[in-house]
Chain length 338, copies 4
């Protein structure tokens, strides 16, 4: 395979970015079809993308034999079913994170994939493709901080006074499954995939009282103990005043590496009556703009050159499993053994 022919599914804000990347910026990729049940999204594709087939129906897209791979940017609740259907149709699959909020569904995907070992499935843990995270990973691997024994990682979104995510809460899986899965995946990756043993979690509602209905929180912390003594500490928030603040620290016996300690928007600083300051990345969308592109390039490289991405479905399942345990620990007010 020299060129991968993609069909993208879902053309919301993030879907459009993926579509643009596949259409213009990924050598080896061709975006040949797009699918969305929403007419406005298909119209957007018509207008902004190179000529491609448009479908309202996912099965229709899967029936197109000229398509090598699907790129799913759809609601989480559809992920498992859509991946399984794509595999059965003989397509490679890229799917946005998380794989699923449900472990049984994760297992069903893994089982189906086992029946199609020649097909690639990758869940979009995009931070693994960010240049800074990649640099940190390589430095850790090269021994720059000795033996890494602890990760502290946070995913903190800028507060949306409109509380859009409150309406999204009933289906998001809750703060830990929606946000901390990224950190969980990073911690496992940076620590070399240790086996989790026990989880604690605590949380609070700082601002968005509407979350109380679905037992969700807008700020939460969690601790994961791994069975070799390694530790991970997570923080997730919906209520930051300054911007999207994703940070990760890996602590080792000979040093510590951090990524994103100051969520600076760019290289500009201003000195004025407010002091010396920098603007911050407003959302994950700006923070990980490059990483979304590198992720697509990595997936295409996996298909075309057989270059492994390092990300497995088991990784995605483990992130979900630990995220669920954090939610349970929060609800139980006590440790959850894994």
């Amino acid at each position: 395979m020299n060129t991968v022919r993609f069909g993208i599914v879902g053309l919301g804000r993030l879907g459009r970015r993926h579509a643009g990347n596949l259409a213009w910026h990924v050598p080896g990729a061709r975006l040949v079809a797009a699918c969305s049940p929403v007419k406005e999204e298909r119209d957007w594709a018509q207008e902004h993308l190179p000529q491609l087939a448009l479908h309202a129906d996912y099965d229709e897209l899967l029936a197109d034999e000229s398509i090598d791979a699907v790129w799913l940017v759809t609601p989480t609740s559809l992920h498992a079913t859509q991946i399984i259907a794509a595999l059965r149709a003989g397509k490679h699959v890229f799917c946005e994170k998380p794989l699923s909020l449900d472990l049984a569904e994760c297992d069903a995907v893994i089982e189906e994939h086992a029946r199609h070992p020649h097909l690639h499935v990758m869940i979009g843990f995009v931070r693994r493709f960010d240049a800074s995270y990649r640099d940190a990973f390589d430095s850790v691997a090269a021994g720059a901080i000795g033996r890494p024994f602890m990760v502290r990682s946070q995913t903190c979104d800028k507060n949306d006074p409109e509380g859009f995510f409150v309406r999204f809460a009933p289906t998001s899986g809750g703060l830990f499954l929606d946000c901390s899965v990224h950190d969980i995946d990073l911690a496992r990756w940076l620590l070399g995939n240790p086996k989790p043993k026990r989880v604690y979690a605590s949380g609070t509602i700082a601002i968005h009282e509407g979350l109380r209905e679905c037992n969700d929180i807008d700020n939460g912390v969690g601790v994961v103990e791994f069975d070799d003594g390694r530790l991970a500490v997570f923080y997730a928030s919906r209520t930051m005043a300054h911007g999207h603040d994703t940070q990760t620290e890996v602590i080792g016996t000979a040093g510590a590496l951090s990524v994103g300690r100051n969520p600076r928007a760019n290289r500009v600083e201003i000195a004025d009556a407010h002091g010396v300051r920098n603007a911050c990345t407003p959302t994950f969308f700006e923070r990980f703009e490059d990483a979304f592109l590198r992720e697509a390039q990595a997936f295409v490289a996996a298909l075309v050159e057989g270059k492994p991405t390092g990300l497995t479905l088991e990784d995605a399942r483990e992130a979900t499993r630990i995220g669920i345990a954090m939610r349970e620990a929060y609800e139980a007010g006590g440790a959850v053994e894994l």
Copy 2:
């Protein structure tokens, strides 16, 4: 009282700093006596301090009626007994933290103090007197970050390859009681003294295997839930490669304040083959040099001008109580209710 006549007790490294401050730098203080069972320490006092009475025996010092106040820089195991004796001798007391590793002892001190309400007792939670922490506290109090609902705080010492503290471990009370008490006190102070409800803690030995004997750890994390939903997350370490790294973050509904995010030694940066970098404070001694002085000034101001320090024996007891709960949570591998 215009001038407070002090007797200092204990002249180790920290005792000498306190002695120098009382002797030279605190208007309103006069250092008139020093006490140490160690001859070398008394000789040091003879040589380096203005003329003062020297005692090998604590009771001897207490018998000196010209002394208004004692300044205890002695091993933790002696704190409670020495404070009680000083109160009975009619002396004001400054005592290094922690008050005690034992709650019953804390209570005994509090009870004795109740019998001498005209005497001041202050436990040296020195960070409350650091200019940066004070600025952060004042900003929080002034509403700069809205309602503060979370504190993240760490006390991380530079690794001592000699492992001096391993030998000290049997009497230190363990990592949480030795290091995290500072962070516990800061969290309570910055959050407005909320009532703790539940505690988790985890820990590991990253380097100093010798700690295993006394069930201690060299890296630990803990979470405290308060009954109004506020949260505190602590990290303590003995194994930093870069220096003494004390950091605290207060997160509120309208912003977040941090103190000490980069433990820079001073205002110097160097750009060379290692990148752009700054040296770090090697130990708490350099980091809190000014704070030790301000602490002494505050205590003298309390005695001379009646200006409250804001620090009570109950604060010190609560820090010990939460620290003990963290140690128990770590040992139990589960939540401890308070």
Copy 3:
């Protein structure tokens, strides 16, 4: 015009980046031809670029009527001649900076261009297209720092112990014309194109004694006075130990904006025995990777949509003129009036 058909000229390191951008990443651009007298460069194009016509001879490329625009990444000494030839052949022109080291040549290009007003010529002052510089420019324009009255700007390259640039010195125009032209252009842009009045410059050889032969220097500073009292201070160096360090500061009556104060390579920081540090961008190539792409997008947008780039040939001439004055001021050891 919906799509611009480009022929690239020159396929050295920077030429290859431009070629890749035009081939893959600029919607509206098609790279249809490449020209280089060097066989190895043509072979590279054959292997790495989409199918395109290859020429050893520039006139041959100009003779291709299907080409709309040329993209010159050639030695400075060829710029003026090649631009003029391209204009006469009816092509739009993008040309790497500087326009020329010679004012008469600049004027000849400007005159020729006046005869082809429908053709676009842009000199690649790439920093104007960097996201951070763009943000700074927009903030200044929006009044964020009041009236800007001073720019301080530097272009400092990492020392090359091999001294490659020493061999390049006889044709580079010297430190100020090679490096400071960027800063001169930035200062004019950020200050609103004030008229220069007087120039000073000083320089030294810190490391590369080989420069003495052609009267060049490896570190130099210059000051430009504008006739409305505005000031610019420049620094250029070939001898940085830490990396490529391009910084610019705009100082206004109500604040100051800086770009690139710490030339951090990415968002990673490490804390270890060297302190807390970050790696630096090694060369301008990494620092301005995105800017080279945005520059190409801006040029294509100018051709396709008529969207002005803001950069004129007069800007390029003025940068050369001031750069020459700085060199003369350095040589004269005194002020040069403009």
Copy 4:
């Protein structure tokens, strides 16, 4: 001499700080007298300092034979006369910078001092005693950046909308002599006292038009060429929006050291709707609080222990000489040879 008995002269804001240091914080110093023609200042001394003799008249103070040394915090125009009188009265002298705005006066002081070689005279170039500058100096001396060949240094004051300094302008000597003398002294110190060869300077009025009357400016830059090829670039400003911003950079063949790149007020950072930011030191008074104390300690150590301060009257004269040349270069619009 074990204890130095001081008489302080001048009790304005800075004089009061010096008085407090001598009274309370400098072991080996005793403040025994104070002199001010202003009754309100003498009253302040009466109330806030330990018991001491008060004089309205300088000669009266000099007549007191129990006084070992005078500490002059008086207007610059009085410095030379007062130093000479003190030397003739057999007193050691500390005097605030600058020594004088007039070279002949500088020479007269140096000549008088030559007649009293047993007496110490130190001009208060306080930055040499700042812990960060001291660290930078020691690092440079230890070879951390190879051979230092360039200093960039600035003294930038926060804008005073009241323009107090405009009224002070007629006697201040102008921006360069008032502010840049500090930077000149630092550059000479950090570069190992090279011989200045040529000076350029430029300036502008950004805000305070009232300065035009006395031909002064509120923002100025200058370049000094030394005869071994070393360079210094200075910037002075009265109009910063963010605070007092004193920065210095030493560039060497193997690295660069900076002091004060971000004029942070303390270790606090805030993240809120304005981004991530830190407050800045409002004036030199806060920035150099510690340095004023260390300066006094160093002067007393010189008197008591004979420990050299490293600062000579020739250093002070040279700072004045270069400052005058900068003013002349600005006025002439051309280079001034030294």
